[in-house]
C-alpha cells in the first residue's frame, strides 16, 4: 500500500493507470461482481475463495521467485501430487512430524535437481522442468503403486496434522493464515534483502549480474529450492485438508500458478514483478472462477474464461508499455 500511495505523487492519470492497472482491475472487478452476483461479497464466500486459492497461492509465491530470476518452473504441479501422496502415506507409517520432515527433504531434493540442471549446467528451464513434470509423475506412481492413499479415518479427527488444512486461529482458516504469512516472509525477502536484489539482477541482465560479482548459478539454483519449499508447504496444507491423496492431484496446477503470476504482472522475461502482484493475481483468478460458479456456469467454462482474462492482461500490459493497443510495426 505504501508503494501505491508513494507513487501517486508523480505522473499523470494515464501513467498511474498503466502502473497500477492490476490493482484497479481488481477493485473494478470486485465491485462489478459484488453488484451483479448475490452472495459474492459475503464474508463467507470471500473467505471460502481465499481458502481454496491458498494452495495455488503458496505455490505461486515460489514460482514468482523463479520467474523473477528469468526462468520457469513447470514441475510444481506433479511435485505437489508427489508431496501430498508422500506426506499422507507417511502419516500413519512414521507419524506426522517425521512424515513432514521426510517429505520436505524429498521435495527439496527434487527442486535441487531442477536447480542443478538449470543453474549449474545452464540447461533451458522450460525443457528441464517440463521433463521433471513427467519424471515426478513417474516417481509418484512408483511410490504409491498407483493406489490412493489416505490417513486412517479413525485418527483423522484427532491427529495434530489436521491443523494445517482444517484448523483456524481467531476464526480465520489456517490455509489463509499460512498463505498470507508466507507471502509476507517471501515478499520481504524478495523486496528488501540482498538476496532479493540478486534475483532481480540475474533476471534483468544475467551478464551484468556476473560482472557485478553475483554468482549467477547459485542464485538460479536457490530459486528452485524456494519453489520446492513452497510446494512442500502446499502439500502439507492439501494433505491435511483432504486427509488423502492420489497421483492425479495437482494436475494442471503449473499452468494455473503461472497464470496467476502473469496476471499479477510479473514479467516472464525476468527482472520485473513482485510477490504482492502475484498474490493479487492468484486472488483475481480465484474470484473469477468463484464468480462464474455462482453464476451457474459449468466448471469447464472457468478454464476458457481464465484463458481470455490472461490474454487480456498480457495484452493490456504490453499496450500500456508501448502506449497503444496494436503493434506499431505492420
Amino acid at each position: 500500500m505504501a508503494a501505491l500511495v508513494g507513487r501517486l505523487g508523480n505522473g499523470d492519470l494515464k501513467g498511474l493507470i498503466a502502473r497500477n492497472g492490476i490493482f484497479i482491475a481488481f477493485v473494478v472487478f470486485m465491485i462489478a461482481f459484488g453488484i451483479g452476483v448475490d452472495r459474492f461479497l459475503t464474508f463467507q464466500n470471500l473467505e471460502n475463495v481465499v481458502k481454496t486459492t491458498a494452495i495455488i497461492g503458496v505455490i505461486a509465491l515460489g514460482v514468482t521467485v523463479v520467474v523473477l530470476s528469468g526462468n520457469l518452473d513447470l514441475s510444481v504441479g506433479s511435485m505437489l501430487s508427489f508431496g501430498t501422496v508422500m506426506v499422507v502415506d507417511l502419516h500413519d507409517k512414521i507419524g506426522p512430524g517425521a512424515g513432514i520432515l521426510v517429505m520436505m527433504i524429498a521435495v527439496l531434493a527434487l527442486g535441487a535437481v531442477n536447480g542443478l540442471l538449470i543453474g549449474f549446467l545452464r540447461l533451458n528451464s522450460l525443457i528441464v522442468t517440463l521433463g521433471m513434470l513427467s519424471a515426478i509423475q513417474g516417481l509418484t506412481l512408483i511410490y504409491s503403486g498407483g493406489k490412493n492413499v489416505d490417513i486412517d479415518p479413525s485418527t483423522q479427527d484427532t491427529t495434530w496434522f489436521r491443523v494445517f488444512g482444517r484448523g483456524e486461529i481467531a476464526g480465520v482458516d489456517m490455509p489463509i493464515i499460512i498463505f498470507f504469512a508466507l507471502a509476507v516472509v517471501i515478499g520481504m525477502i524478495v523486496a528488501y534483502t540482498p538476496y532479493g536484489r540478486r534475483v532481480y539482477a540475474v533476471g534483468g541482465n544475467p551478464t551484468a549480474a556476473v560482472f557485478s560479482g553475483i554468482r549467477r548459478n547459485r542464485v538460479v539454483f536457490s530459486t528452485y529450492l524456494v519453489s520446492a519449499f513452497c510446494v512442500g508447504i502446499a502439500s502439507i496444507i492439501l494433505g491435511s485438508r483432504v486427509m488423502g491423496s492420489q497421483n492425479t492431484v495437482g494436475q494442471g496446477y503449473e499452468l494455473l500458478v503461472l497464470a496467476g503470476v502473469i496476471l499479477g504482472g510479473t514479467s516472464l522475461l525476468g527482472g520485473s514483478g513482485s510477490i504482492l502482484k502475484t498474490v493479487i493475481g492468484v486472488l483475481i483468478l480465484g474470484f473469477i472462477q468463484n464468480g462464474l460458479l455462482l453464476l451457474g456456469y459449468p466448471f469447464f467454462a472457468q478454464w476458457i474464461v481464465t484463458w481470455v482474462v490472461i490474454i487480456l492482461a498480457v495484452w493490456l500490459d504490453v499496450a500500456a508499455k508501448r502506449g497503444r493497443l496494436l503493434s506499431p510495426i505492420a
Partner: protein, 504 residues
C-alpha cells in the same frame, strides 16, 4: 538567399517523459548536402529529438516539415518512407543472425514462392561492405563481431536505402581511428549525393573536421546554431555547459608512488593475448593504448576473473593470486568498469540506486534487510560527484541518456573503493564537461593511493590521464612509455606494431 531550402525542418518540438521535460520547444533544420552537428551535454535531449524524427517517439507539441511540407511521422517505417534513417546510439542488431540478414532485415530480396534470394543478398551486401572496407563477409554472424564492426554494420544498414536524411547518433563512440576514416569517407559521399546529415558526437575534433553547422541543446532547450567555420571549441563549450574548460592542459602531476599493487608476469590467454608483463603501483595510472582487438579488454577481463589465463602469474601486493570469478576479484579489491555498459554494466530494468550498489549490496544491510538510507547516501554521493542527471534514484536506468548510463556504471565501481581500479573505455559517450570531470576524478583517486588501469582507444584520453602508457598490438605489449617522454607519433607506431621495445 543563396542557401538552399532545408530538406528537413523541426519547429517548436516539445517532449515530456514522466518527471522530465526532455525537449522544450526545439527548432532544428537540415539542408541538403550539409553535415549538421547536434551538440549538448548528456541528457540534453539530442537522442530524443532524433528519435522523434525517426518515428520512435511522438512529440507532445511542434511540427516537422520535409521539403516544406508538414508531415506526421507515426512509426519508424513511415520515417523510412520519408527518407529518414537513424543510426541509433545503442546498437540494435540481431545477434544470432548474419550480417546480411541484419542489414536487410524485413526487406530481404525474394525469389518466387517467397524464398529468400541469398545470392542477390550476398552480392548487394558484399558491395556495401566493400565500400566500408570491411574485412568480414555477408554470412558472418553479428554476435561474433566486435562492437566496432557491429557499428559498421549498422551504418551499412543505412546505406541500403536511398535516404534524404541520415542521422548518426554518436557513431564513433566505439570505432577505431581507421574505421573513423572510412566513416568520414562515407559521410562525404552521402554529402556529395545531396543527403542531409545530422551528426551527434561529444568529440570536438570530429565536429570541427566534418560538420558545416552546429546546433546546441541545453537541458532540452534550443540554444542556437552557428556556422562551424565561424566558431571555436570554447564558444561551443560555453553554449553547452555555460562555462569554459581547460581541455588541453596535460595535467599529470605525479602522485607519490607507493607500494606495488599489481604485478603481472607473462600472462597469456590463448590467442587473445600473450606474454603480458607489467606492474601498477599505488598512486599510479597506467594507460593501455591500442587498436580495438589488441587484447586490452581481454587482459582486463582476465584480471577480473572473467577469463582463465593459460599461462603467467598475477600478484596482488606481492602475493600470487588466482582469480577464478568476478566475485573473487571484488573480494580482492579489484573493480572493472566494463567496455559495454548496456550488456555488461547495467541492469536496465533496475533503478539508478540499485544499479550503483549492486556489487556491495551484501555489505549494506541492517539486520537481514538492505539498509535503504545507506544505499541512497551512496547514490547521492556519486550523483553529485559525477553530475548524474536523473529525476530521482527511482528512475529506471534504461530511461537515462547514454552518457548518464555510463556515469552510473562508473559510480557503481568507484563506490567499491577498490585497491585496483580497471576502467575500460571510461568516457565512451560522455560529454566534454563530464569527461574532464572523470579525468580529474581518476587523477584524484590516484593521489589518494588507488592503483588504476585505464584502457582506452582515445589517444587524448590516455595522454591526459596516464603516468605510464603501455602500447599493445595483436595481443602483445609493444612498448612502454612514461607520460613525460611520449609523443603521438611514437604511440601511433607502437600500436600499429611498427616498433618494439627491443628496437627502442
Amino acid at each position: 538567399m543563396t542557401e538552399p531550402n532545408p530538406t528537413l525542418r523541426l519547429k517548436g518540438i516539445v517532449k515530456t517523459f514522466p518527471g522530465v521535460r526532455a525537449l522544450d520547444g526545439v527548432d532544428f533544420d537540415v539542408r541538403p548536402g550539409e553535415v549538421h552537428a547536434l551538440m549538448g551535454e548528456n541528457g540534453a535531449g539530442k537522442s530524443t529529438l532524433m528519435k522523434i524524427l525517426a518515428g520512435v517517439y511522438h512529440p507532445d507539441e511542434g511540427q516537422i516539415f520535409i521539403d516544406d511540407r508538414p508531415v506526421v511521422i507515426r512509426s519508424p517505417i513511415e520515417a523510412k518512407e520519408h527518407g529518414i534513417t537513424l543510426i541509433h546510439q545503442e546498437l540494435s542488431l540481431a545477434e544470432e543472425m548474419s550480417v546480411a540478414e541484419n542489414i536487410f532485415l524485413g526487406e530481404l530480396p525474394r525469389k518466387k514462392w517467397g524464398f529468400v534470394d541469398w545470392k542477390t543478398l550476398d552480392e548487394r551486401v558484399g558491395t556495401i561492405l566493400q565500400k566500408l572496407n570491411a574485412d568480414w563477409g555477408p554470412r558472418t554472424r553479428i554476435g561474433s563481431l566486435s562492437i566496432a564492426k557491429q557499428q559498421m554494420c549498422e551504418i551499412a544498414r543505412a546505406l541500403t536505402h536511398s535516404a534524404k536524411i541520415v542521422v548518426f547518433d554518436e557513431p564513433t563512440a566505439s570505432l577505431t581511428d581507421a574505421e573513423k576514416v572510412v566513416l568520414f569517407d562515407v559521410i562525404e559521399d552521402l554529402k556529395a549525393e545531396g543527403v542531409g546529415i545530422v551528426y551527434i558526437s561529444h568529440r570536438m575534433e570530429e565536429i570541427f573536421k566534418i560538420t558545416d553547422r552546429i546546433s546546441v541543446l541545453r537541458d532540452g532547450s534550443y540554444r542556437g546554431t552557428l556556422n562551424t567555420r565561424e566558431t571555436d571549441e570554447d564558444e561551443i563549450t560555453q553554449m553547452m555547459i555555460g562555462r569554459s574548460l581547460e581541455l588541453h592542459r596535460r595535467n599529470i602531476e605525479h602522485a607519490e608512488e607507493g607500494e606495488e599493487v599489481l604485478s603481472v608476469e607473462g600472462l597469456s590467454c590463448g590467442r587473445l593475448f600473450q606474454d603480458v608483463s607489467f606492474t601498477v603501483k599505488a598512486g599510479e595510472i597506467v594507460g593501455f593504448y591500442g587498436l580495438v582487438g589488441a587484447g586490452r579488454t581481454e587482459m582486463a577481463e582476465t584480471l577480473f576473473g572473467l577469463r582463465r589465463p593459460t599461462a603467467g602469474k598475477i600478484r596482488l601486493a606481492g602475493e600470487e593470486v588466482h582469480i577464478g570469478s568476478p566475485s573473487e576479484a571484488i573480494e580482492k579489491g579489484i573493480s572493472l568498469v566494463p567496455e559495454n555498459r548496456k550488456e555488461q554494466g547495467l541492469v536496465l530494468g533496475m533503478n539508478c540506486r540499485d544499479n550503483i550498489t549492486l556489487p556491495q549490496i551484501d555489505d549494506l544491510t541492517a539486520g537481514p534487510f538492505v539498509a535503504n538510507g545507506a544505499e541512497v547516501a551512496i547514490y547521492d554521493m556519486y550523483r553529485d560527484r559525477l553530475q548524474i542527471k536523473a529525476p530521482t534514484w527511482r528512475t529506471l536506468v534504461g530511461s537515462l541518456s547514454g552518457g548518464n548510463q555510463q556515469k552510473i556504471v562508473i559510480g557503481k565501481w568507484l563506490s567499491m573503493k577498490p585497491r585496483l581500479l580497471i576502467v575500460d573505455e571510461p568516457t565512451r559517450g560522455i560529454d566534454v564537461g563530464s569527461k574532464s570531470e572523470i579525468h580529474k576524478l581518476l587523477r584524484e583517486l590516484a593521489h589518494q593511493g588507488y592503483a588504476i588501469i585505464v584502457v582506452s582507444s582515445e589517444m587524448p584520453e590516455v595522454l591526459h590521464v596516464s603516468d605510464r602508457i603501455i602500447a599493445m598490438h595483436n595481443g602483445r605489449i609493444t612498448r612502454t612509455f612514461s607520460a613525460d617522454a611520449v609523443t603521438e607519433e611514437d604511440l601511433i607506431q607502437a600500436i600499429s606494431g611498427l616498433t618494439s621495445d627491443k628496437a627502442a
